[in-house]
Symmetry: D2
Subunit: 302 residues, 4 copies
């Protein structure tokens, strides 16, 4: 049984706490949050110990690993401290909003041989993972176009946006009010990728993907809580809004993500996505921000 | 150019008039209806001659063929007269509500070698015809279950129901109020067939089919006028109601039906479905009525 | 924590064992199976005690409740013994294949005030339960037609069929080879219900429902493991076969079923569906069998 | 009855010939093509007069209007000559590949008060037109994102590409090999629009649209010739490939387009889209080409 500490008892921290409790080979041992009532509340749900002192986790030799689900500005310090303390780390994205700090962090930890995983949860979603695998298996021939739709059901609370890094995580928050965005990219192999984002969506959490290749197309449609469809005088074959399903959309993905870390710890493997993937996402976000500001296409080498 | 006479300038008569006008090798020459303004109105649309006298059509040697779209009680007399007059006939279903009269009609006309087609329009619907062809081609293996859904968008006018023959055409109208029905049949090969009917449907004209076989299934879903789908706060992926599409659902089927008759006339072939098919439908309707009244399964030999 | 004993370590027993292990307020304490290696295997998965002696469960005062997932012929005896021993019971359907035995069982247990639930898992399926609730809430007006499709992905093993009671559970197994069936029923309110069954289905586990009412329709379509759809030269918008999803289709339903029993036990409520529901299903199955044999509609009063 | 001349007896010319023959108030009088057998073939289909001499149409006072469906390089000269000859004109897009020539053409004809319509057929597609109308009617609130997918089923013949103007009609053909493209635009109101193109598509003619607004979304999916869907061991709910439907996808649009011109001629109205719309499309195509070459966003003022 691997014993975990959790940093952050907010919305995403609770998702991780539930995953840790549900996994047959992990145990949520301690929950840290500077807002102690939050730490107490989450700890109580799963029989863990709450704390307001990060060192209580860092210094406990019985803690094997940590999940960092605290606000973004705390990620680098916690990740560095955990790596030094010999804990395996699952750190929520982004690592930081500043590439220089990310690189400095890497200098600190690269010699420690630490197990570090960055929480790109969508990669563990069964639907998206299946598409990736089938594309890699050649089912649609050469990948030529990739279209991603990601629209949030409603704007996140203002406090969250302030430290989230904006749509082009992590840099453009300071640019102000980007609530609708299209990002166009061209991959090393010439494939075109476009991402359509919106901070709100009247019909729920709109999460789709379309992979178009020389020999066919694979798509991921939205998912609904049940397969009920309604037909009536005002319309037919109506699916429910995706809104109520929002909290559950990525539950399985978070569980698969944790399971991957557990297997890596048990078998001495390197988690994927790792630190370099977290850095690469930041490079792309910086490029998108620069492109938006300058009106020019930007080349990245990562 | 084949010249046609039309009996009946009501709703279904107008559908046939439009098909006759649109076909490149037919011409609507005369329109008969005892309600002369109706005959005038339809004739005027297509440059035909209106008449209130059926003999004007029967006696005109320039008329090659007729479409009988008048009320059911007139079908047998008109069909017999037209066959005697050497006209090819496309007669709307049912031939009559009384099997004895149908058989008597056959005695009258069988020696005349007349070209007689009965208007089972659904057999010419591209979707249903495709399923029939693919099933016959072995695509789903042995056919085991066939489910048909046929729900009308709204009750037909009372006058229409009075002479229509009811849901189990043509006999049960006198039984009164059958507005929702399920018919279960077993075919000679053991295949199960069930038909679900309703005289009204809140969301339009519900016309579906499901053919289930040992190796797969072919289904025919409803069709909508456009492919527009709406997502909003009250539901997602909503198709339009089928109601507005009602008038057009079988337009192509009626045109293909006419085209079949034209080809048979041009090439000296026997139309299919013919008189025997019209009789067989009546036998099944009688059996359904008897089964409903007696609560027993009924065997037919046709 | 409620402690459960499980009778039967076969396919369905394992489903219940997993539900018991996953529920936060239940514990799988003992597993009985006359085939002791099966009992050992399932018990080992969840840290329970295996046994080949049913009395080890019946006589253990620390066991609060049992799940009866053993072969049908053992249900009545186990259900009676458990009720006498003061255990709450969740018994798989059918109670028995013989209505007289079922009624005799009721005579034995009705005075014991036992908590007895019969395992009609589909009633706890989120999709079917939602339709039932929305219909009851008046969303589609008066219910007029109910169509149920239930096709198994592949024939069950011969040994299972021999004691399962056949498609019209529980009586018609002796009739032999009913592998494709349509059942038509009319409810007390005049609503028509038809059930379409097949023992095999080339494209997986086909579980659908259509509730048609005066003001609209609610349908439950099939569900797929992911929302991936494929388009290629041989076809477009292809969903995966339902086969691989078969094991998971009713996982949530079994969990909700158990949760209902737990809540009833904790709060002193009577479970629903109870013994009378199990009896009613048998009455309907007998009627279907009689109808098939006699070719007549059969009236039931239950 | 309006009498039309047709320039061009190729693929698109034949589509217009069929529309002219089917419209109740137009007549195809003459067909011009420098390849005289082509002119003869199309003329023979509809009882028109073939010619290899454009002046035969221009100089015939009995011709009310023309459709210009000849190769792009001939459009400006024909359009100018027809306007001078007092014919109403429906000219296929693009007007020309060179904005200067387009503007010179306008100088020639603007004083003639000619009836000029440019053939943007998609605007008359019932599905796309319905979305435009419903968006304009406020159904989805403020339009925020518009996504257009347009993938051809297979590369057009090389000769066609050479004079077609490329994906960014009309300029980039000389850039060579653009067979996959994404265009991102921002409208005057801040709305984001992206177009995804491909010169080939393994599963047919992929024509979709997604209009996302503050209060909902309207989408146009692909259309299939029939509503048949297949389920089998290798997949479920499979629609046919869109390929065979390609020739018919815009048939109704071309007919509605012609009908619009007819109504404008009959009622003395100005057709929409007109010459200015044809020019605007060229301005956008030039901007896309420039953006691709420079890697910079380009502002247009049209």
């Amino acid at each position: 049984m691997l014993r975990f500490g959790l940093f952050g008892a907010g919305r995403i921290g609770r998702v991780h706490a539930a995953s840790l409790a549900a996994h047959p080979r992990t145990e949520l041992a301690m929950v840290h949050d500077p807002i102690e009532p939050a730490a107490h509340e989450v700890a109580a749900l799963y029989g863990a110990t709450p704390t307001g002192d990060a060192d209580a986790i860092l210094g406990d030799p019985g803690i094997d690993a940590v999940v960092i689900a605290s606000p973004t500005p705390t990620h680098v310090a916690l990740l560095t401290a955990c790596a030094r303390a010999g804990k395996a780390v699952l750190c929520e994205k982004p690592i930081d909003l500043d590439l220089a700090r990310v690189d400095a962090c890497w200098v600190e930890i690269k010699g420690l041989n630490a197990t570090v995983m960055i929480g790109f949860n969508r990669r563990f979603d069964p639907t998206f993972a299946e598409i990736r695998e089938r594309v890699a298996g050649g089912e649609i021939g050469r990948l030529e176009q990739l279209l991603i739709t990601s629209r949030d059901p409603a704007p996140a609370p203002a406090a969250y946006i302030a430290s989230s890094g904006g749509l082009f995580e992590p840099y453009i928050a300071e640019a102000g009010d980007v609530d609708s965005a299209v990002v166009s990219m061209r991959g090393a192999g010439g494939e075109l990728c476009q991402i359509t984002n919106s901070r709100r969506c009247a019909f729920g959490y709109d999460q789709r993907l379309e992979a178009f290749g020389a020999e066919g197309m694979l798509t991921a449609g939205n998912q609904t809580a049940t397969s009920v469809r309604r037909s009536g005088a005002s319309g037919t074959e109506t699916a429910p809004p995706y809104l109520n399903f929002f909290l559950d959309r990525y539950t399985l993905a978070y569980r698969a993500e944790l399971d991957h870390l557990v297997i890596c710890m048990e078998q001495g493997l390197t988690p994927n996505p790792g630190f370099a993937d977290g850095r690469a996402a930041l490079v792309l976000a910086d490029a998108a921000t620069e492109s938006m500001k300058t009106g020019r296409a930007v080349r990245t080498d990562s």
